[in-house]
């Protein structure tokens, strides 16, 4: 088990956002978490990565209890994260974005006097190439097209050489074509590097195309978990999704 979440509880001003969630993820597994808007998916991610502190429960990653750790420590243990909103360093170039993450990962961030520009050129270029941004490396990242910014986000997460990736709606806001390309890219990278993947997604075709297991979150609770076909046939899941107009 690479990730174990036990009896996780989080409430905001009396509203139960996460109401006792239990699940585990095996090493190398590709898992999706789905659920209607407001089900608590992003909150769940924020609890796992230490961006929010939990009320109750325990989270174990790679045999280390990360329940009370800050976000920067969790990340150093090898839990990479991308965000639903675009979350990049918008005044820096694409190259500098990736390089900053490589620097940190290699423990060079406390270096005060070496020129930064020549450091880790090769490592940075390798990642730029992997996420298909080598032609845009000198552009200011804030002025990139939306799809490229999402790829950059993924690149920043990969630069940390994570053992497990948590992607929060990696294709949110993308066209059908961009979505397909991004999902292919993620699938390739995950297989190539032997990563474990946990992601949330609203596009059902994406979810069913790459996940090995799907968990359904509804009102802060997991109501189903299993292979895609089994989850699709689950009457309770159908009820939750019928309620939504789509």
């Amino acid at each position: 088990m690479i990730l174990q979440v036990k009896n996780l509880v989080k409430s905001f001003d009396g509203f139960m956002a996460i109401a006792g969630v239990n699940f585990t993820v095996k090493k190398g597994e590709l898992c999706a978490i789905i659920g209607p808007n407001g089900a608590g998916k992003t909150t769940l991610f924020n609890l796992i990565t230490g961006h929010l502190s939990m009320d109750k429960g325990q989270i174990v990653f790679n045999d280390i209890d990360i329940s009370r750790l800050n976000a920067h420590k969790v990340c150093r243990l090898g839990l990479g994260r991308s965000f639903q909103r675009i979350n990049i360093f918008s005044r820096l170039t694409v190259f500098e974005n990736i390089q900053a993450a490589v620097l940190t990962h290699r423990g060079k961030s406390f270096n005060f006097f070496t020129p930064v520009q020549p450091l880790f050129q090769e490592e940075t270029h390798e990642i730029l190439e992997r996420v298909g941004l080598q032609e845009h490396q000198d552009e200011v990242s804030g002025s990139l097209a939306y799809g490229f910014q999402k790829q950059l986000e993924l690149g920043i997460a990969l630069a940390m050489e994570p053992k497990m990736l948590l992607l929060d709606e990696p294709t949110a806001g993308m066209s059908a074509q961009e979505t397909r390309a991004t999902i292919e890219l993620i699938g390739e990278i995950v297989k190539e590097k032997g990563l474990t993947l946990l992601f949330t997604e609203h596009d059902m075709s994406v979810v069913f195309s790459i996940s090995e297991r799907i968990m359904v979150l509804h009102q802060g609770k997991l109501i189903a978990s299993g292979p895609p076909d089994e989850v699709r046939a689950n009457p309770e899941v159908q009820k939750v999704y019928m309620g939504e107009s789509r």
């Binding site: 990565t49 420590k73 965000f83 360093f89 900053a100 993450a101 940190t104 990962h105 006097f113 930064v116």
Partner: protein
């Protein structure tokens, strides 16, 4: 060598030649500009590079000035020791104050820096027996080996060049790069494994160190010091210099200090409405030149030379 370094060397040679013209006016003005230029560049490590708006930078400037004066006049230390401790006093104050400030963000951070600088001012103002209270401390002489206005100009030039060189190394280092990621996106920086508050605190300390150095220089330049060195208008003035010159360029604040001090000296000799003129400059700046003077010229150069 890069084009920018050639330009810097040319500017440096020109600055070194200024006293040969025999103009006391320019030696006086440029000493002032160099001192405040260093102060503004050190503030910009927080503002432009780390994205922290400090409204209380005068605290470290004032602490530097008082530390130097007290160490020389009351403790009787030699110049070298006193001047070195001046920088460290600013760094120590920034460590203590910054420890609390980095716990808050945005406007709360800014207000807390202001609050602490007002506390520093109040302590200096009230502690008569040590600081001379409202009257300040008089008779801070040039140390013997730099005992003339010209010699002090060269001394200031050397101290400022070394300090600015170190600051430039820092902003171009991996540490400096991480500061810019914090400026752009603290949350994301946390998620690449950086202890954001620790880095903000370190930037605060470095900035406090160099602000105090500039305060120490100003104490010698001015021969006397007052509690007003720590008062909020000084914090505002150095902030205006930084914005005027351009906070997204390393030398912008230096240019801003030069333009503001020159204008003030010229304008106040014609009219008493300097604050009115300053206000008008600020309005124009904020509406039409958000990148400051240097930012504006950089944009123009980019327009005329689209490829490097």
């Amino acid at each position: 060598m890069s084009r920018q370094n050639w330009v810097l060397i040319a500017v440096l040679v020109l600055l070194a030649l200024v006293p040969l013209t025999g103009s006391r006016y320019y030696v006086f003005l440029l000493t002032d500009v160099l001192i405040f230029g260093l102060f503004a560049v050190s503030l910009n490590l927080l503002l432009g590079y780390t994205g922290l708006v400090s409204f209380g930078q005068a605290a470290y400037f004032g602490i530097g000035a008082y530390a130097y004066a007290l160490l020389i006049k009351k403790a009787g230390l030699t110049f070298g020791v006193a001047f070195a401790l001046t920088g460290l006093s600013g760094a120590a104050a920034a460590l203590i104050i910054g420890f609390f400030c980095v716990r808050l963000t945005k406007i709360y951070f800014a207000m807390l820096t202001l609050a602490f600088s007002q506390i520093v001012w109040a302590i200096i103002f009230k502690w008569n027996s040590l600081t001379g209270g409202d009257t300040g401390i008089y008779g801070i002489d040039f140390p013997e080996f730099i005992g003339s206005k010209t010699k002090f100009y060269y001394f200031t030039l050397i101290v400022v060049v070394v300090s600015v060189f170190l600051l430039r190394r820092i902003v171009n280092s991996p540490f400096g790069r991480i500061l810019t990621t914090i400026r752009d996106n603290p949350e994301r920086t946390e998620s690449i494994g950086i202890n954001v508050k620790l880095f903000q605190l370190l930037a605060f300390i470095v900035s406090g160190f160099f602000s105090a150095i500039s305060g120490g220089l100003f104490a010698i330049f001015n021969h006397s010091i007052f509690p007003d060195f720590c008062y909020w208008p000084i914090s505002a003035e150095v902030l205006i210099m930084t914005l005027l010159g351009g906070m997204y360029s390393f030398f912008g604040p230096m240019v801003g200090a030069g333009v503001l001090l020159y204008l003030r000296l010229e304008v106040t000799s014609y009219t008493q409405y300097w604050p009115f003129i300053l206000g008008s400059i600020l309005v124009l700046l904020l509406f039409f030149f958000p990148g400051g003077i240097v930012g504006f010229f950089q944009d123009q150069i980019k327009k005329w030379r689209p490829s490097k």
